[in-house]
């Protein structure tokens, strides 16, 4: 069944996710949403890894493991990021990224 779906479909999906993630990162004002956008990017990477592995190099597992580790790291990253966002909320009373521009020039 999977053989009927060409690799390029996955790649298109992952690329779209990648750019949606970037778009979200650039446009969403809420810090949490920005973090979610990053997760989108990371997930697009995961799809890439898995797809490449499954289609092109089915005899090995490097892509799969990479995906697993990325997921784990993303979780850790999110944890630290959210902790800092809480800190931001305490200091700025807001989690709007537009407000976080005390240091500039």
């Amino acid at each position: 069944m999977i053989q009927n779906i060409p690799l390029s479909y996955f790649l298109v999906i992952s690329t779209m996710m990648f750019f949606i993630g970037i778009y979200g990162f650039l446009t969403r004002r809420n810090l949490i949403t920005m973090l979610m956008s990053v997760e989108l990017i990371l997930n697009s990477v995961n799809i890439n890894f898995v797809a490449f592995n499954r289609y092109l190099y089915p005899q090995q597992l490097q892509g799969h493991f990479f995906m697993l580790i990325v997921i784990a790291v993303a979780a850790a990253e999110a944890a630290v990021a959210i902790a800092i966002i809480i800190n931001i909320y305490r200091n700025f009373k807001s989690i709007d990224v537009e407000n976080v521009d005390e240091m500039k020039y």
């Binding site: 990017i41 190099y57 490097q62 790291v73 990021a81 521009d101 240091m103």
Partner: protein, 475 residues
């Protein structure tokens, strides 16, 4: 694989143990005795640094994910020494009342990132590299936000973590494409398969932006100044020196090995980015009044110089980059050490506060001046040698105009370094910062960096060792 094999990961293992020991001690100490952690940790880290210099076997672990050899050890040792100086310089700051409960956090997070960097340097595949990179980045974000009650610190934290998340996302995308193109994440096999196809160039560029982020190359540098300014000063010096140094090390290894096949393309790119980085870094540094921000931009410009060595593309290039980073660590730590000492005692961080500093604190002023001269590349301090070798390696590849631009930029940078010198030595001030005496640790840290600035240049042995090791790697 047996036990003795695993010992070739000595640095990483010891650091892990160190972090755990700090944690355990912290748990067992009463709240009012927390400051005892500081001397214990310093002593332990000192032992770690010394042990790190003991010779070790080159080898490969985990089926090629981890590798080590004399050059990589040397890089790690360089970082260790830098961290030792930073730890010494942070003692006064850590002893402050407000930090009492968080002392161990500082050490643990710092050691964790150092572990990450060590792994990153020793990585034999992209997976280990990525893990090391994230391990080296995420805790720093926490460190940047170390001072809870300061908005600036929190802002620095969020800016760092989100920017780095984005950049590592893009980097990962690059890695996934590399994997797709070559079918492997191991450096050795990627190197053999890497070719100049559009997809692989794209993959390389995405990968490179991630590294450029760490090295804060223009235009991927914008987080740098804000984070440096907001983070506690010692974290800033850690970021600007150790983190950047590690990134430079791994970048040059990867450039010279994995991506060597597309060197004709990335050389153009590096040329462009080097010019941009030096120029824009300098232009921003020109008008900074906050010392941390000032040093942030100066370190951006310095990163541009590092690219010159990579452009050399030969043993000389590699040697000069490593040597430059070594020199840069000492010079920048000298400068940051002074800023840190002053900032911790008086809370003053702007250039105007330094007016007339020489009349009250001559030694600090002298060290600051020498460090700045070293950063600017003025003899007889080591920075001159570092810069000269970088330029020489770029010239060896025929990039004379780039060298010219770089030296002109060094001249511009001299201008703003001299502004600080002028503030300290020339400007008159009714009320210069009062005389103060730093504690032993800070002074040791400052003296160490001062010594380094002098010794590294004249003692050609160091350069020669790096050179022979680099030669071993590249041939």
């Amino acid at each position: 694989m047996n036990f003795s094999d695993i010992l070739i990961m000595r640095h990483e293992l010891m650091l892990t143990v160190l972090a755990l020991v700090v944690l355990i001690i912290d748990l067992n100490l009463h709240n009012r005795d927390k400051h005892l952690i500081i001397p214990i940790t310093l002593a332990l880290f000192f032992i770690h640094t010394v042990v790190g210099f003991m010779p070790s076997q080159p080898g490969i672990l985990f089926g090629g994910m981890y590798r080590t050899n004399a050059l990589l050890l040397m890089m790690k040792n360089i970082l260790n020494v830098g961290v030792l100086i930073i730890l010494l310089q942070s003692v006064t700051w850590l002893k402050k009342e407000e930090n009492r409960e968080k002392i161990s956090e500082y050490f643990i997070l710092l050691f964790t990132t150092l572990i990450g960097m060590n792994f990153m340097i020793s990585s034999g595949d992209f997976l280990m590299f990525y893990l090391g990179l994230e391990l080296a980045t995420i805790p720093i974000a926490a460190l940047a936000a170390y001072t809870h009650h300061q908005t600036k610190s929190a802002e620095a934290g969020i800016k760092l973590i989100l920017s780095s998340a984005l950049s590592s996302g893009i980097l990962l995308f690059g890695i996934s494409l590399i994997y797709g193109a070559t079918g492997s994440i191991y450096f050795d096999s990627v190197m053999q398969h890497y070719a100049n196809t559009p997809m692989q160039v794209l993959a390389f560029i995405f990968f490179f932006t991630g590294m450029a982020f760490k090295l804060s190359l223009v235009p991927f540098h914008l987080w740098t100044a804000d984070v440096y300014e907001g983070a506690p000063i010692n974290v800033t010096s850690y970021l600007s020196v150790i983190s950047k140094g590690a990134a430079a090390f791994i970048l040059i290894i990867l450039m010279f090995t994995v991506f060597n096949t597309i060197a004709p393309i990335y050389n153009h790119m590096l040329y462009l980015i080097a010019v941009l980085t030096m120029t824009i870094g300098n232009l921003f540094a020109l008008r900074q009044k906050n010392m941390k921000r000032f040093l942030a931009f100066s370190s951006i410009a310095q990163a541009g110089f590092i690219l010159l060595g990579i452009l050399g593309g030969n043993t000389m290039g590699m040697t000069s980059v490593i040597y430059f980073v070594l020199v840069y660590i000492f010079s920048n730590l000298g400068a940051f050490g002074v800023v840190s000492a002053i900032s911790t005692v008086t809370g003053k961080e702007t250039m105007d506060d330094y007016d007339g500093l020489y009349s009250t604190n001559p030694k600090l002023s002298l060290l600051m001046m020498l460090s700045l001269f070293s950063l600017a590349g003025i003899p007889p301090v080591a920075g001159f040698f570092g810069k000269f070798f970088l330029f020489a390696s770029a010239a060896s590849a025929g990039y004379y105009w780039l060298v010219f631009i770089a030296v002109l930029n060094a001249t511009i940078s001299l201008y703003y370094y001299l502004l600080v010198v002028k503030a300290m030595f020339i400007n008159k001030n009714e009320k210069p910062l009062a005389y103060f005496k730093s504690d032993l640790a800070t002074r040791t840290g400052l003296v160490l960096s001062g010594l380094g600035i002098f010794v590294l240049g004249f003692w050609s042995q160091i350069y020669e060792i790096i050179n022979s090791l680099s030669f071993g790697i590249l041939h």
